[in-house]
Amino acid sequence: MTEPTALALRLAVFGIVSALVQIAGISQIPVLGVNADLSPLIVASIGLLAGSGPGALAGFGVGMFIDLALAQTLGISALLLVPIGYAAGRLRELRDPSHTLVPLALGAAASFAFAAGFGILQLMLGVGAPVSILVLRDILAVTLLGAILALPVHALAARVAGRGGSARGAPARSRRPRAYATGGLSPLSTSGRR
C-alpha cells in the first residue's frame, strides 16, 4: 500500500471513529447548555494537515456519515463541512501557518461557521417553531467549546496522520515557503511524486 493511500485510509478511519464518539458520547454531555461538535474540528484539522482537496473530501465524508447516522436532512452537514475543509486546506497552502495556536483559531472559526451556517440553512428550509434570540448565545457557546477542543483534536489528527504536533503537522525547521496555487502541497500528492 502506498503512503498516500495509507494516509487517506487512516484519516478516513479517524473521521468515522470521531463521528461515532461524537454521536454516542460527546453529544450526550451538555456543557454551558450546549453540546460540543467535533465534526468541524475534525474536518478543519484534516484540511490543515493534508490540504484543500483532502479537506473537502473529508468534509463531505464526515458530513454524510453524520447526516445518515442521525437521520438528519441528508446533505446539510456535508454542504457546510466541504467549504470548511477546503478553506482549512487553502490556509495551509497559502499561508503555511506555523504557530501552535493556529488550530485553536481555526477550530473556533470552523465551529462558528458550522453552527451559524447550520442555523441559516435550517431557517431557509423552514422552522415550524419560534426561534429564540438565545440561539445566538448557543452559537457562541459552541464556538467557545470548539476553541477549547481544537488543540487536542488537532494533536490527535496529527498523530493519526503520522505528523508532529505543530500547526500543519510537520517539524518547524523542515518548513519552507510555498508557492501560491501550486496545488501540490498535500502530503497525499507530494508523496506520490517521490
Binding site: A56, I76, Q122, L125
Partner: protein
C-alpha cells in the same frame, strides 16, 4: 501544470458542494418511503450495534463529566430545592385531601383507579446517540420495529413526556423530542379551568417550551403543571395519551398572554440528559378511553 491542479481542486470543491445540494434537495422533496430515507434507515440499522457499544463504553466518561457539572451546580440547586420543598409541603396537605376526595368520586363513577403507564404497553430502551445541534432534537434508541416500536408512538421517561418515535429500523429507532422544531403536543394546563393549548419548543432554549393558543382569558399562573390533553376530537386523534406530565409554567406575562396567547414552561424531563426512555406501544388504549368519555 499548476493551472491544471487549480482547476482540478476547484472542480472537486464545486462537485462536492453541488452533490451536497442535489442530495439536500432530493431528500427534502421525497417522502418518508423514498430511496434516501430508506438508505438512511439502512445505515442507522448497520450502525446501531456499533453505536450501542460506543455508548456503553463512553458512559463512565459521560457520567464523570455530568458529575463534575452537577457538583458545581449543587450549591445553588440546594437552596432552590429547599424553597421548593417548603412550597411542596404546603401543597401536600391540600393534595392529600383532594386525593381522598378523588378516590371517592372515582369509586362513585366506577372508573379504574389505575393510572400508571403500564396499560400502554411500555418498552424500555437505552439512548445510544443524539444530535449535537440545537436545530435537531433527536435521540437514537436501541429498540426498533422488532420490539414492537413503530413511528408515531409516544416516548416518556420516569418524569414525563419526552417525544415520539419518528423512524424505525429492525433494532433501533429515532425519537424526535418535544424540544424539536417539528414538535407540537396538544396539552392542558392544570389550573381551575384546565385551559387547553399546544406545547411547542423555542429553538435555542432547550430548557424552555411554550404553550400556545391558550384561551384569551386563561387564568394561567407560574407553577401550574401542564399535561398532555389526549384526544379531544375523534376526527383529530392525538398520538399522546392524556395526563402525561410535560412541564410546569414558569413565566406568564399578561401582555404575552393577551396578545400571543402563550406562556412559558419548563419541561419536567431534562431532555439533555436521558439514558433510558420508555415507549408506549399501545397509546391508543388511552386515546380511546379519553375519546369514549
Amino acid at each position: 501544470m499548476p493551472d491544471k491542479r487549480v482547476r482540478r481542486r476547484r472542480a472537486v470543491l464545486g462537485g462536492l458542494v453541488g452533490l451536497s445540494l442535489i442530495l439536500l434537495t432530493a431528500y427534502v422533496g421525497e417522502s418518508l418511503g423514498g430511496p434516501f430515507h430508506s438508505l438512511q434507515r439502512g445505515v442507522v440499522a448497520v450502525l446501531t450495534p456499533i453505536q450501542d457499544g460506543a455508548s456503553r463504553v463512553l458512559k463512565p466518561a459521560r457520567d464523570l463529566v455530568s458529575w463534575v457539572g452537577d457538583t458545581l451546580h449543587a450549591k445553588s440547586e440546594n437552596a432552590q430545592l429547599k424553597k421548593q420543598r417548603d412550597q411542596l409541603l404546603r401543597q401536600t396537605v391540600g393534595a392529600r385531601a383532594a386525593q381522598a376526595e378523588n378516590r371517592q368520586l372515582k369509586a362513585l363513577v366506577g372508573l379504574d383507579g389505575a393510572s400508571g403507564l403500564g396499560r400502554y404497553g411500555t418498552v424500555a430502551a437505552r439512548v445510544i446517540g443524539r444530535s449535537p445541534t440545537v436545530w435537531y432534537s433527536t435521540l437514537e434508541i436501541d429498540k426498533g420495529s422488532g420490539d414492537g416500536i413503530h413511528a408515531g408512538q409516544p416516548v416518556v421517561s420516569g418524569a414525563g413526556l419526552v417525544g415520539k418515535v419518528t423512524q424505525t429500523t429492525g433494532s433501533s429507532a429515532i425519537v424526535t423530542l418535544i424540544s424539536d422544531h417539528t414538535s407540537g403536543v396538544a396539552a392542558k394546563v392544570l389550573d381551575r379551568a384546565g385551559d387547553p393549548g399546544i406545547v411547542v419548543p423555542q429553538v435555542g432554549t432547550p430548557g424552555s417550551l411554550l404553550i400556545q393558543t391558550l384561551p384569551p382569558r386563561a387564568n394561567v399562573r407560574a407553577g401550574d403543571p401542564v399535561v398532555t390533553a389526549g384526544t379531544r376530537s375523534a376526527r383529530y386523534p392525538s398520538l399522546f395519551p392524556p395526563n402525561i406530565p410535560i412541564g410546569t409554567i414558569t413565566t406568564v406575562s399578561a401582555d404575552e398572554l393577551s396578545l400571543s396567547q402563550q406562556a412559558h414552561l419548563a419541561p419536567v424531563v431534562d431532555l439533555r440528559r436521558l439514558d433510558f426512555v420508555q415507549i408506549l406501544t399501545r397509546p391508543a388504549a388511552g386515546a380511546t378511553a379519553q375519546a369514549a368519555r
